[in-house]
């Protein structure tokens, strides 16, 4: 690595360097530029968007491999970035689950319609459904409030935080006694228990439970999957039990709008600029060094890369407390999700599925919680599930522009494909293809003739996701959503408020609170923290 240090002593060209131009990087950069900071946004890839990026995976076929669930923009971020007008596609995108080949249970967002569908399986469950989804919605909504403020922490909370803290406490009280308890009870619970307590229908439980294991290397029986389920429902409209509404303008709409906002605010954006080092002098971040050896100085650095890369790979370890480094090294990422992208000649025919539009929603091929658990068992031992959990969607039904000539794209999210394989085995092409074959077979089982419509198939193992999206261990979570890795414990205990032990270095990626799927959430909070701390100079204003 080149050690060329070319700082000239003249004033820095930038006040703040933001690393990574995903949702968080764009939000942070915009927020900082709006506050008068001169901001340079550096992106390793050639395109912006991070996890939301849209790839052309086959000639004429495009998809956002990690965009099945587009995520949620907190209102405060949307306001700040001027994205309030960014429209979501509010048409019903139901969740369907394969009960058996040729038979599906389809859960509309409309609780009444969903209850109607459930009635075929259990009248009791049908009756319980509206109240269940309403409760999930209320609890997720409270979590959403927690996600828009720095996380309260014992001992660290200053007087200045008290108003926000009081608002949260009030909001919590506002849940009412029953939901206050349910919130605390659900977080550490397993979705297995949660759903067993609520329902008797096997496919219904399977359909909802899959939300508790999304990108999480645990089975539905594990404590804490209750929280994961809620986390992925933050910002979802009432009645939805998986994922959030897609953008009306297609998967790339958010990135495009956020980029425009950043440029409007005066952010300088450089793509193809991979950071290899963060320069630290006298306990303070003073700039970055790029892969080409170029050093760029700034008063502060805000990284949206994962905490481990930022702190253990980019910062010289001599600046960090050994115990702190140990804590960072112990962050569990544990990617376990693979994605298979299919370029299709025509829409697959899925007998038993209520309507073709159901394919625009999410279709889970795993009929029971038990089957999800079985799939998870393999991952514990570093093995790929023999019968992985597969969920599919056809985004071209909503965004026809993703495929040329009226053709279609099918995205399959697959668990469990653990990043770290048993005995250090490699994620080579043979393993990846074998997994993709299993996925194709699983789809074929519910959509006879599917194979014949596939023109291209691209499988992305966790290793591939790591390379393509810069995700450590291929984990879209930026650190798995265990209860010990959220809120004030994210990314590590005691550093849940976006600062780091290095003065002027901030973490604002999904590794930081509030984590994945909350678009711009961490970046916005990190930028606020940076501004509160008065870092990165006073700007031009």
């Amino acid at each position: 690595m080149s050690e060329r240090v070319s700082s000239t002593g003249s004033a820095n060209a930038y006040d703040v360097i933001v690393i990574g131009a995903g949702a968080n990087g764009l939000a942070a950069a915009t927020r900082l530029a709006q506050a008068g900071r001169r901001v340079l946004l550096l992106e390793r890839a050639d395109a912006l968007g991070g996890q939301g990026a849209v790839l052309e995976f086959a000639p004429g076929f495009r998809a956002a491999p990690l965009g099945i669930d587009p995520g949620w923009v907190p209102p405060a971020v949307a306001r700040s970035l001027g994205l309030e007008s960014l429209a979501t596609d509010t048409s019903d995108a139901p969740l369907s689950v394969a009960v058996a080949p040729g038979s599906f249970l389809t859960l509309s967002r409309d609780a009444g319609r969903a209850a109607e569908a459930i009635r075929a399986h259990s009248a009791k469950d049908a009756a319980a459904w509206p109240a269940f989804t309403a409760r999930l919605h209320r609890l997720a909504d409270f979590l959403g409030a927690l996600y828009q403020t720095p996380s309260p922490d014992v001992g660290l909370t200053s007087m200045a935080d008290l108003p926000a803290l009081a608002r949260l406490a009030l909001k919590y009280r506002g849940l009412g006694p029953r939901d206050m308890i349910e919130f605390l009870r659900i977080l550490p619970s397993s979705v297995w228990d949660l759903l067993d307590d609520a329902f008797e229908s096997t496919p219904l439980k399977g359909a909802v439970a899959a939300g508790g294991i999304q990108d999480y290397r645990q089975g539905p029986r594990s404590g804490g999957t209750g929280y994961v389920l809620l986390h992925h429902l933050v910002g979802a409209p009432a009645g939805m039990v998986r994922g959030r509404l897609p953008w009306a303008g297609g998967p790339g709409a958010f990135t495009a709008a956020a980029e425009a906002a950043a440029r409007r605010a005066g952010v300088t954006i450089r793509t193809g600029a991979a950071v290899t080092r963060i320069v630290v002098r006298d306990d303070a971040a003073t700039g970055v060094v790029l892969a080409n050896g170029e050093e760029i100085s700034a008063g502060a650095v805000l990284s949206t890369a994962d905490a481990t890369r930022t702190l253990l790979e980019w910062v010289d370890p001599v600046w960090l407390d050994p115990e702190f480094m140990h804590a960072v090294a112990n962050i569990r990422y544990r990617g376990c999700t693979a994605v298979v992208l299919y370029a299709l000649e025509a829409l697959p025919s899925v007998p038993g599925l209520a309507s073709p539009e159901a394919l625009a929603g999410l279709v889970s091929l795993t009929p029971s919680v038990r089957a999800l658990e079985k799939a998870a068992d393999a991952a514990k031992f570093g093995e790929i599930s023999e019968h992985p959990h597969v969920e599919i969607t056809v985004p071209t039904l909503r965004a026809a522009g993703l495929a040329d000539g009226g053709k279609h794209v099918l995205v399959a999210r697959v668990q469990y494909a653990p990043y770290a394989l048993r005995d250090g085995a490699a994620w080579d092409a043979a393993r990846r293809d074998a997994l993709a074959d299993r996925v194709s077979a699983a789809i074929e089982a519910v959509a006879p003739g599917f194979g014949g419509r596939v023109r291209h198939r691209v499988a992305l193992s966790p290793r591939d996701l790591e390379e393509r999206f810069g995700l450590r261990e291929g984990a879209p979570s930026g650190g798995e959503l265990g209860l010990d890795q959220i809120l004030f414990m994210r990314p590590v205990a005691g550093w849940g408020r976006h600062a780091t032990p290095i003065r002027g270095l901030y973490l604002g990626g999904v590794s930081a609170h509030p984590g994945p799927g909350i678009l711009g959430g961490a970046g916005w909070l990190a930028a606020n923290r940076l501004l509160e701390d008065g870092r990165g100079g006073k700007g031009r204003s």
């Binding site: 306990d283 253990l312 001599v318």
Partner: protein, 395 residues
């Protein structure tokens, strides 16, 4: 079973009164004679041979060996030349002392760290992101401390090394008879002396060679009791006796910074980043609130306490290691952590933590003495450390 050192075959035969103790999990002689006086006298008058093998020892090599040590210890590693030894503390991120020991630069690329406590985990935590090998050689290497005014004379009969050229806190690789050894001009007695590092397999041979060579010079094997008196006279601290390692301390109050245990001289403020740098800079600017000083107990006030009970003054022949309150008038202003009767200085000495305002040399304080089941106070005068510092130590 407890561990035994590589010299056990020889030392065990010499322990006449079954006076064994534990030292870092090893079975060690407190004294060889039933009475330790002669062993102590050898340290100050002729020479003593002390088995110090229970010290933890690490060999540190690799591209980042120097950086690892520099980030860990409080002294400036970039200034440690090959063949030089540092005595140094090292701190946690809050500037509290974890342990103290020596760092020897064995050659251009290899270092040896000795410590009172096992340091493997701490070194590994510190080595995150570095290319470095840390080898625990604690059990592979035996260590003998040859201390006393005649130690050089004894060594010169068995080693080809130019001992005159081996300065204080310097190290060389040499042989004793035909046994390869590492030799450093260091010790824990504050006297002229050497520490000798040997492959465990040849430890017994080394012992025999030194004992044979030392015979005409009155070389005497000495145990921990004798060493303890010598180190108190020399004002040398002991971990978990005079201070708690910050890794062992059960409360914050039990932790000490280097400034608070008389090791401020070993903190190099201008060096590169190291653990506790920020906290130590702040403490230096603020001034430490505690000092670690010597106390000389005034004989007359001491004797009077006994006379009042119709007793002659009672003087233990081994050092004590219990915490004893120290007062200014009615108010406790510190505590002594170890002490002894110095047979050489003919004084009762103690090492004490004192609140900064009471730490000036010459300050008269009261130290608690239990006489005939009653808590009394004798006058103790604050003194600089060391109590005893002979010219020959560095000459």
């Amino acid at each position: 079973m407890l561990k035994t050192t590589p010299f056990h075959a020889r030392t065990s035969a010499l322990v006449r009164a079954q006076t064994w103790r534990r030292w870092a999990g090893y079975q060690m002689a407190s004294a060889y004679d039933p009475h330790p006086d002669r062993e102590y006298a050898a340290i100050r008058n002729s020479a003593a041979l002390i088995d110090v093998s229970p010290l933890y020892k690490y060999r540190i090599t690799g591209r980042d060996a120097m950086r690892l040590l520099d980030r860990t210890i409080t002294r400036d590693m970039t200034k440690l030349k090959p063949g030089q030894v540092y005595y140094t503390p090292w701190c946690d991120g809050h500037g509290k002392v974890v342990d103290d020991g020596t760092v020897t630069r064995l050659d251009e690329h290899a270092y040896r760290l000795t410590s009172a406590d096992s340091s493997l985990r701490w070194l590994h935590l510190n080595a995150a992101g570095m290319q470095v090998d840390v080898e625990d050689i604690s059990e592979k290497a035996g260590a003998l401390s040859l201390q006393g005014p005649l130690s050089r004379a004894i060594l010169s009969t068995v080693s080809p090394a130019d001992l005159g050229a081996l300065k204080y806190f310097r190290y060389i690789d040499t042989t004793i008879r035909d046994i390869p050894v590492g030799l450093s001009r260091t010790g824990y007695t504050g006297d002229l002396g050497y520490e000798i590092w040997v492959d465990a397999a040849r430890a017994v041979e080394l012992w025999d060679a030194l004992m044979a060579a030392g015979k005409p010079y009155g070389l005497t094997p000495a145990g921990v009791w004798a060493l303890d008196i010598a180190r108190i006279e020399a004002g040398l601290i002991m971990m978990d006796v005079d201070y708690f390692s910050s890794h062992h301390a059960l409360t914050e109050q039990r932790k000490s910074s280097p400034y608070e245990i008389n090791l401020g001289w070993a903190v190099s403020p201008g060096k590169g980043p190291f653990n506790g740098r920020r906290a130590l800079a702040e403490e230096r600017a603020r001034g430490a609130s505690w000092a670690f000083m010597g106390l000389e107990i005034e004989w007359d006030t001491f004797e009077r306490l006994f006379t009042a009970e119709g007793l002659p003054p009672q003087i233990p022949n081994v050092a004590w290691r219990t915490s004893v309150p120290v007062y200014d008038a009615g108010r406790q202003v510190g505590y002594a952590t170890s002490g002894c009767w110095s047979p050489l200085l003919k004084k009762s000495l103690a090492l004490a933590h004192l609140r900064a305002p009471y730490a000036a040399p010459g300050t008269r304080l009261g130290i608690e003495i239990t006489v005939e089941h009653k808590r009394r106070r004798a006058t103790a005068v604050v003194s600089k450390l060391p109590f005893f510092d002979p010219e020959r130590k560095k000459a």
